[in-house]
C-alpha cells in the first residue's frame, strides 16, 4: 500500500515537475509565447475560455468515441480474419499497410466531398485511423498463440470458431489492449484532424481558428485538453486491462520491477 502510494506520489510530482520545467525553461530561455506559451498562460486561457470550449470538447469526444468504437469492431473483425486465414493475411495486410501509410489528412477532404463537413467525416477519420494497430495486434496475438493451448480444444472436436472464442481471443487480449492504447490516441488525432479540415465544431476547429488568428495559447489549451482526454480514456482502458489480462501480468504487475 505504502509502496503504491510512494509511486503515485513520485509520478505525480514528476509530471508536475515536467510542467514546471516547461514553465521555467520558457522564462529562462525567454521563449516567445507565440512559439511556445508557458503552461501557466495556457491554464489561464483554458480556464477563462472554458465555457466556450465545453461544447467543442463534447463534440470531439463524441466523434472520437463513436469512430473509435466502430474502429475497434472493424479492427477486431479484420484482425481475426487476418490472423486466422492465410488468404486474408495475404490480401488484407498489404492493402491495410498501404492505406495506413497514407496521411489521413489527404483522405479527409475526400470524406468531406462525399459526406459534407461536420461530424460524419470526423467519425469516419477517427474510425479508419485506428483500425490498423488493432488489426496488427489482434492478428499477431492470434498467430503467436501456443499450439498446446489450442490442442486442448482441438481434441474435444471444437470448431474453429470455438477455438477462436475460447483460446485465440482470450490469449490475444494483452495484444488487444496494447493496441487500444495506441488506437484511442490515434482516434483523437483523426477526429481533430477532420475537424480542422471540415467542421464548425470541435477542438480541431477551435485550434484551427485559434492558430489562424495566432491565439497560440488557445491552440495549446486545445492541445492540453486533447492530451487530458487521451489520458482519461487511457486510464479507463488500463483499468479494464488490469481486470481482463491480469492473468498475463500476474504476480509482477510490471515485469522486472
Amino acid at each position: 500500500m505504502t509502496d503504491t502510494q510512494r509511486i503515485r506520489f513520485l509520478s505525480t510530482s514528476l509530471i508536475v515537475g515536467f510542467f514546471l520545467a516547461w514553465e521555467v525553461l520558457c522564462i529562462l530561455l525567454n521563449v516567445s509565447d507565440l512559439v511556445l506559451p508557458r503552461p501557466s498562460e495556457i491554464l489561464v486561457t483554458m480556464w477563462t475560455r472554458f465555457p466556450v470550449l465545453w461544447p467543442h470538447i463534447l463534440q470531439t469526444l463524441y466523434s472520437t468515441l463513436v469512430g473509435f468504437s466502430l474502429g475497434v469492431v472493424i479492427g477486431v473483425t479484420l484482425g481475426v480474419l487476418v490472423g486466422t486465414s492465410k488468404i486474408a493475411y495475404a490480401v488484407a495486410y498489404p492493402l491495410l499497410v498501404g492505406f495506413s501509410s497514407i496521411p489521413k489528412v489527404a483522405v479527409v477532404p475526400i470524406f468531406v466531398l462525399w459526406f459534407g463537413s461536420g461530424t460524419t467525416p470526423a467519425v469516419l477519420t477517427a474510425m479508419v485511423i485506428c483500425v490498423f494497430p488493432i488489426v496488427v495486434n489482434i492478428a499477431t496475438g492470434l498467430a503467436t498463440t501456443e499450439p498446446e493451448l489450442e490442442d486442448v480444444l482441438k481434441t474435444l472436436g471444437a470448431s474453429k470458431t470455438e477455438i477462436l472464442w475460447n483460446v485465440g481471443l482470450p490469449r490475444a487480449m494483452p495484444y488487444f489492449f496494447a493496441s487500444l492504447k495506441v488506437a484511442i490516441t490515434l482516434s483523437f488525432v483523426g477526429a481533430v484532424l477532420s475537424e480542422t479540415v471540415a467542421s464548425n465544431m470541435g477542438i480541431g476547429n477551435v485550434m484551427m481558428t485559434a492558430s489562424s488568428n495566432f491565439q497560440v495559447s488557445l491552440v495549446f489549451a486545445g492541445l492540453i485538453i486533447l492530451a487530458l482526454m487521451g489520458v482519461a480514456l487511457y486510464a479507463v482502458f488500463s483499468l479494464l486491462e488490469r481486470r481482463v489480462t491480469g492473468w498475463a501480468t500476474r504476480g509482477n504487475d510490471i515485469a522486472v520491477t
Binding site: 507565440l34 466531398l113 459534407g116 463537413s117 464548425n200
Partner: protein, 318 residues
C-alpha cells in the same frame, strides 16, 4: 430549398454578408434553408462545390477560371462578386530592404504552394521585370509565413492582405509602419477575387433559388456596409470562438480595401466588368499555365443580380 453553403476559411469578419443573412433570416425569407460550414481555403470552395457536397459558397473567382479551363461545364459559376479588388500581395519587412520589385532578386520569399499569390508570382515577375531565377522560394503552411518572416527565415511572404495584416498585429508587429506591401493590383494585376458562387447544377435546375440567394446576400451586404455592429453580432452568433474586435477590424479592412472600389460605385456591388474579367482570365491562364482560355460568360453570370439601385454600395464605418 436546402442549400449547403461553404465559407472560404474559418469564420472571419469578411464573411459577414452570409452570416448576417443567416442570422437575420434573409435566406428563410427567400424560402431557402441554408446551412453554412466553415471552409478549408477559398480555392477549395470550388472543389467542394464541384465534388457535389456543397451547392454554393464563398470563394475565389480565379479558382473558377482555373477549373473552368480544365473542365468546361463543370466548374461553379460566380453570381455575385463581393471582393472587387484582389487581396493578393507580397509583404516584406522594412528591414529586408525591399523597396521595389527588382529588389526581390537575391531574396527568399515564402508562401503556401498553390495559393493564388504564390502561383501568380511568375506573372507579377514578368510584368515587373523581376528575374524569377534569382528569387528563391520556400513552401510553408500559411500560419507559418509571418512567424518565419519575423524570424528572418524568409525576406517576404506571399499573402492575402486581409489575413496577413491582422496576423502581423497578432504577432505584435505594426503592419503599416514596419512592412512594405506589394499589392498585386498596383503592379498590373487588377484581378477580381472572392464572391458568391453556385454549382452548375443549382444554376440550371433551380434558378429561383439562386436568385433568392443573391437577393438575400445583396441585402445583407448593404446592411454590413452600413452597420458593422449587427454584423459582428451575427458573426459571434455563428461562431463564438472568434475575437469580435479582431473580426470587426478584419471586416472593416475588407469593406474599405477589398469591396469598396471606384468600379463598384459605377456598376454596383455584385457585378463586374467583363473586359477586366477577360483580362484577368489571361493573367490567371499565364500564371497557372492553363491550356484553354475560358470565356467570361463561363465564369460569371450576372442574370441574378437585383436591379442596380438596390446594389449601390456605400461604406460607413461605425
Amino acid at each position: 430549398t436546402d442549400i449547403r453553403f461553404t465559407l472560404g476559411w474559418k469564420t472571419q469578419g469578411s464573411d459577414a454578408p452570409f452570416l448576417l443573412a443567416l442570422h437575420k433570416g434573409y435566406f428563410e425569407d427567400e424560402g431557402l434553408n441554408v446551412t453554412i460550414d466553415q471552409g478549408e481555403g477559398s480555392a477549395a470552395t470550388v472543389t467542394r462545390i464541384m465534388g457535389g457536397a456543397y451547392d454554393a459558397g464563398f470563394g475565389d473567382i480565379n479558382a473558377i477560371i482555373q477549373n473552368a479551363a480544365a473542365r468546361p461545364g463543370e466548374a461553379p459559376v460566380m453570381v455575385y462578386q463581393l471582393w472587387n479588388r484582389p487581396p493578393f500581395a507580397i509583404v516584406t519587412p522594412k528591414t529586408a530592404g525591399i523597396e521595389a520589385p527588382s529588389d526581390f532578386e537575391g531574396k527568399t520569399l515564402g508562401g503556401a504552394q498553390g495559393t493564388p499569390t504564390t502561383r501568380l508570382f511568375p506573372v507579377f515577375a514578368e510584368l515587373n521585370g523581376v528575374d524569377l531565377g534569382k528569387v528563391a522560394q520556400e513552401n510553408m503552411a500559411p500560419n507559418l509565413q509571418e512567424p518565419m518572416m519575423i524570424r528572418g527565415d524568409i525576406d517576404g511572404a506571399f499573402v492575402f492582405t486581409s489575413t496577413s495584416w491582422f496576423n502581423l498585429i497578432a504577432n505584435r508587429q505594426d503592419p503599416a509602419k514596419d512592412f512594405n506591401w506589394f499589392n498585386f493590383e498596383d503592379y498590373g494585376m487588377d484581378l477580381y477575387s472572392n464572391g458568391l458562387m453556385v454549382s452548375r447544377a443549382l444554376l440550371t435546375e433551380n434558378p429561383e433559388a439562386v436568385a433568392g440567394l443573391v437577393r438575400a446576400v445583396n441585402k445583407a451586404t448593404m446592411e454590413v456596409a452600413a452597420n458593422q455592429d449587427s454584423s459582428v453580432e451575427a458573426i459571434m452568433a455563428f461562431d463564438n470562438l472568434v475575437d469580435p474586435e479582431l473580426e470587426r477590424a478584419r471586416l472593416e479592412f475588407a469593406l474599405t480595401n477589398l469591396m469598396n472600389a471606384p468600379e463598384v460605385n459605377e456598376i454596383g456591388m455584385g457585378d463586374l466588368v467583363d473586359e477586366r474579367l477577360t483580362r484577368s482570365i489571361e493573367i490567371v491562364a499565364k500564371g497557372y499555365e492553363l491550356d484553354r482560355l475560358p470565356e467570361a460568360s463561363e465564369i460569371f453570370d450576372r442574370s441574378f443580380l437585383p436591379p442596380a439601385e438596390e446594389r449601390s454600395f456605400e461604406v460607413t464605418i461605425n
